[in-house]
């Protein structure tokens, strides 16, 4: 007694066929996805979506390709694709909704920016612009809510899920109360690293990564794992606190004099790992270096800055070109403070070379952060040691990140104690849970991800240029099923770019279509879509498929 979930119900399809059926046919739509081997969840979700489309009478074909090929098409051949699997990863600065709300959907980024789907809604544009310069928290929240509503009712994205992050640590090694959970990020965060209290002999935190650290460079972050390390070696003026809001860090205080003027007071007695003091000069340098063109990656985050004035060795004043609500999150909490005495000459030197700061690798990276660089064995491990002189010294002695691409192995290692913090686990959460429950040493913590998984539809191309069509599709796709089947329950169905984990920004009641295939068919019918005798969906009368080449 089994049934295929992708079987079309032939009884639903009308028997009569419109006369112009041939010209109203919908082509076979292509769904891009990474291959099953590298992104099984994306591939399986594509399968489910294709199944739902089939039930609606739409032919879909999944094309698996590596991420690089996929993004090449999505980014640079913006009108050549139909649908593609995509995701937004969790990053601390994304705790502020600005990037998601503005960059992803504002029409100005449709040409070559992040709005690769080609979403274009003037009403939305206004809201997105407005929230950027609205510094008042409550007022801005309303705008963000409104933006989410528009995205939902327009079905800008085919939302799938917010996966749950799964972390495991060894509670024989670390005091459970010393582990800090951060909204949308989970327990794998700097606060845990700083706070974790070893209870026994093992004073080191050993965690896993499943890909390589590519560079340890305060001016260049490529892989996700690079940033895990750099944020520990290099301090920032502010850091995103566990509640998701930035708080002063290297800065003792951050005072907004006006909408465009911020006064920063540095903590006293901060030292670089080489013993030299941290000064306003270093801070100014850190924020101005990207403007030289030698640090392209960080340029977008400092361009808003008009000027930086040094008041005294511990005080600076930033002047912005215009107000920017996300400045604390996206800039003050993002840029690493680098020692001018080390990087100053390097940047000068690079100006005469084709390379830029991104390809410069210090032998021993020097920052001022709570951890000091100790050793990096390429493709094996990165070892940091506690900076006991830091104003917020870690309790652990060493922070060690082991590269373990093999998921099975990482599971085996957390079980047998080779690692004591499972920091990344792309595998099956249910299994992980079983293992943890069976083990006397392990504790598992799950958190809904700040990031989210979705399928992008190309609004430039029919049939996706029709809101009704998108709404129908959204209704037909069973997001609960996805969460249950693909993620084995370790995901929350998504309906917004803002994660439910961020209760401050998330609009809890969104008009995102639901109701399954039945509802979807109704939406389509209402919009004039019809079906041919074989059950294939046809465009509304008069509409013909035209693809602008």
């Amino acid at each position: 007694t089994s049934e295929t979930q992708t079987q079309p119900k032939s009884t639903d399809t009308p028997k009569t066929e419109p006369a112009d059926a041939k010209s109203r046919e919908i082509r076979t739509l292509q769904i891009l996805s990474r291959p099953q081997a590298s992104a099984p969840d994306e591939y399986e979700r594509a399968n489910l979506i294709a199944g739902a489309m089939k039930e609606l009478g739409i032919n879909a074909e999944i094309k698996a390709m590596p991420y690089e090929q996929q993004s090449d098409i999505v980014w640079y051949k913006r009108d050549e694709w139909d649908m593609t699997g995509w995701q937004m990863a969790a990053r601390p600065e994304r705790l502020d909704p600005d990037e998601f709300v503005y960059n992803l959907f504002h029409s100005s980024t449709a040409k070559d920016g992040y709005n690769f789907i080609g979403y274009n809604n003037p009403e939305y544009d206004k809201i997105a612009e407005q929230q950027r310069i609205t510094v008042d928290r409550e007022e801005r929240k309303n705008l963000i809510f409104k933006a989410q509503e528009l995205i939902a009712s327009d079905v800008a994205y085919l939302f799938n899920v917010h996966p749950k992050l799964k972390y495991v640590y060894n509670h024989q090694v670390f005091d459970e109360n010393s582990i800090v959970e951060m909204a949308g990020m989970g327990i794998r965060n700097i606060w845990t690293y700083l706070n974790a209290a070893p209870t026994g002999q093992q004073k080191n935190m050993i965690l896993n990564s499943n890909d390589s650290v590519q560079a340890l460079n305060p001016f260049y972050i490529s892989g996700a794992f690079d940033s895990w390390v750099t944020e520990l070696i290099w301090d920032r003026l502010m850091r995103i606190d566990k509640d998701g809001l930035p708080k002063p860090w290297a800065a003792e205080s951050v005072t907004w004099k006006t909408d465009t003027q911020i006064e920063i007071k540095l903590r006293a007695n901060m030292k670089w790992h080489d013993g030299k003091p941290v000064t306003s000069e270093d801070v100014k340098f850190s924020y101005e270096a990207p403007l030289t063109g030698e640090v392209p990656m960080y340029k977008p985050f400092v361009e808003i800055i008009d000027k930086i004035d040094i008041k005294d060795p511990l005080t600076l004043e930033f002047t912005l070109k215009r107000p920017w609500a996300a400045f604390e999150t996206a800039s003050l909490s993002k840029l690493n403070l680098v020692p001018k005495h080390i990087w100053g000459p390097i940047i000068e030197d690079l100006k005469n070379k084709p390379e830029n700061a991104e390809s410069y690798q210090e032998k021993t990276p020097i920052g001022s952060g709570p951890f000091k660089y100790e050793n990096w064995k390429f493709k094996e491990e990165v070892v940091l040691s506690a900076n006991t002189e830091h104003f917020s010294p870690p309790k652990i002695e060493k922070w060690i990140m082991r590269e373990i691409p093999n998921t099975e192995a990482s599971l085996g290692m957390i079980e047998n104690g080779e690692i004591n913090f499972l920091a990344v686990f792309p595998g099956d959460g249910q299994l992980l849970q079983q293992k943890v429950e069976a083990s006397p040493n392990l504790t598992m913590v799950t958190t809904t991800d700040l990031g989210f998984q979705f399928f992008a539809m190309n609004h430039r191309r029919p049939p996706f240029n029709d809101v009704a069509f998108r709404r129908a599709l959204a209704a037909a796709v069973d997001r609960d099923m996805m969460a249950q089947v693909v993620y084995k329950g370790f995901a929350e169905p998504g309906d917004s770019v803002i994660s439910p984990a961020l209760s401050i920004w998330k609009n809890p009641s969104l008009p995102y279509p639901t109701g399954g295939v039945e509802e979807a068919k109704k939406i389509l019918q209402e919009a004039g879509y019809e079906w041919d005798a074989a059950g294939k969906l046809l465009y509304p009368a008069g509409k013909k498929e035209e693809l602008g080449k």
Partner: protein, 351 residues
């Protein structure tokens, strides 16, 4: 070309020795062989260059943040020399190659050579260790099987060997991992060294117990597969050699079986195995990709796979060319080795 000694035409059995221009001829041979190696590498390099350039997907796509301005992207393109016309890129590439310069990795933002050197020793250790195990076991096993021809022992031995040679490596690796690491907890389940250990020198690393422990499972898995070739080769060569009359004669001379087995049959049968090993090392350096994946071994193979899937073609190209170079060189070494070991081999233009 070298050819084994069956050549009945070269019956150089005169009494007078006139090897006057022998040396000239010999070095001519070696030079032409070297030239041919260079040609081979050049062709491989060229093929690679074009394969990677024609590959779909902008190599920089993963590194260009969408918030980058056009200008910033151009800077990056220029930095990697991608703004120049293809032929110019090709020439620059060749010129660099000649100087041993493989360019910069897109992903690691570091010279390819540097990135490769970071993992090469590990691959070498893994390879050498597994080869030592495989060829020791293989050669001895082959000798044994040949000696026990037409017995149960041989049948079982062959079947067992064929099993090891037929089993997918990742599969064996997984099973080995589960048994020896997860269940028995005898060996670590991945990586090349113990957590947080810093070795003063490569030598210290090589001789440290922890490194050897890490090395063991992947080497074992590789060896299980590799062993089949020397074993079967040794066995069939042994059978060939044992049919030769000098082995029969050795027996007539009343030499002990063991002596015959080792000094006559095995010594002679091992010649092709030795060359096979040289060639095999060439193959293996291309990276035991699968094993490096399963055992999280920080080696060249994994680097290459990652580079390919990340379209980091500067790196992929470098890793590939390096493996190709090693293969070409090992092929050459195999030839030379063979002719060194077998006095019957002649070289030069036959006729």
């Amino acid at each position: 070309m070298l050819e084994a000694g069956s050549d009945q035409h070269s019956t150089p059995w005169n009494s007078s020795e006139k090897g006057a221009n022998a040396l000239g001829n010999r070095s001519k041979f070696i030079w032409s062989r070297l030239a041919q190696m260079v040609l081979t590498l050049w062709i491989i390099a060229t093929i690679l260059f074009f394969i990677f350039r024609l590959m779909p997907g902008n190599p920089l796509v993963a590194y260009i943040d969408p918030t980058f301005t056009k200008e910033q992207q151009d800077i990056l393109m220029a930095q990697f020399g991608l703004d120049k016309p293809l032929w110019m890129q090709y020439l620059i590439y060749l010129a660099n190659l000649v100087q041993g310069e493989l360019g910069d990795s897109f992903k690691f933002r570091a010279p390819v050579m540097e990135v490769i050197w970071g993992v090469l020793p590990n691959t070498l250790y893994l390879m050498l260790f597994s080869f030592v195990i495989a060829y020791l076991v293989g050669i001895l096993g082959g000798v044994l099987l040949a000696w026990k021809r037409k017995t149960k022992f041989e049948t079982i031995g062959i079947i067992a060997t064929l099993f090891t040679r037929s089993a997918p490596q990742m599969w064996v690796g997984m099973i080995v991992l589960v048994i020896f690491s997860f269940h028995l907890n005898w060996f670590p389940s991945g990586g090349a060294s113990a957590t947080g250990v810093v070795y003063a020198s490569e030598w210290e690393k090589l001789t440290s117990l922890s490194f050897l422990k890490h090395l063991f499972l992947p080497s074992l898995t590789a060896a299980i597969y590799l062993m089949g070739l020397p074993l079967l080769l040794m066995r069939s060569n042994m059978l060939d050699v044992m049919g030769e009359s000098y082995v029969e004669v050795a027996r007539m001379r009343g030499l002990s079986e063991r002596r015959i087995m080792l000094k006559y049959a095995a010594r002679n049968a091992a010649l092709p195995v030795v060359t096979a090993m040289a060639v095999g090392i060439g193959y293996a350096l291309g990276g035991n990709v699968v094993i490096e994946m399963v055992f999280s071994w920080p080696g060249l193979g994994r680097l290459l796979v990652n580079a390919v899937s990340a379209s980091d073609y500067a790196l992929a190209q470098g890793a590939f060319i390096l493996s190709a170079a090693v293969m070409v060189i090992m092929n050459f070494v195999a030839d030379i080795l063979y002719s060194f070991l077998d006095p019957r081999v002649t070289f030069g233009k036959g006729r």
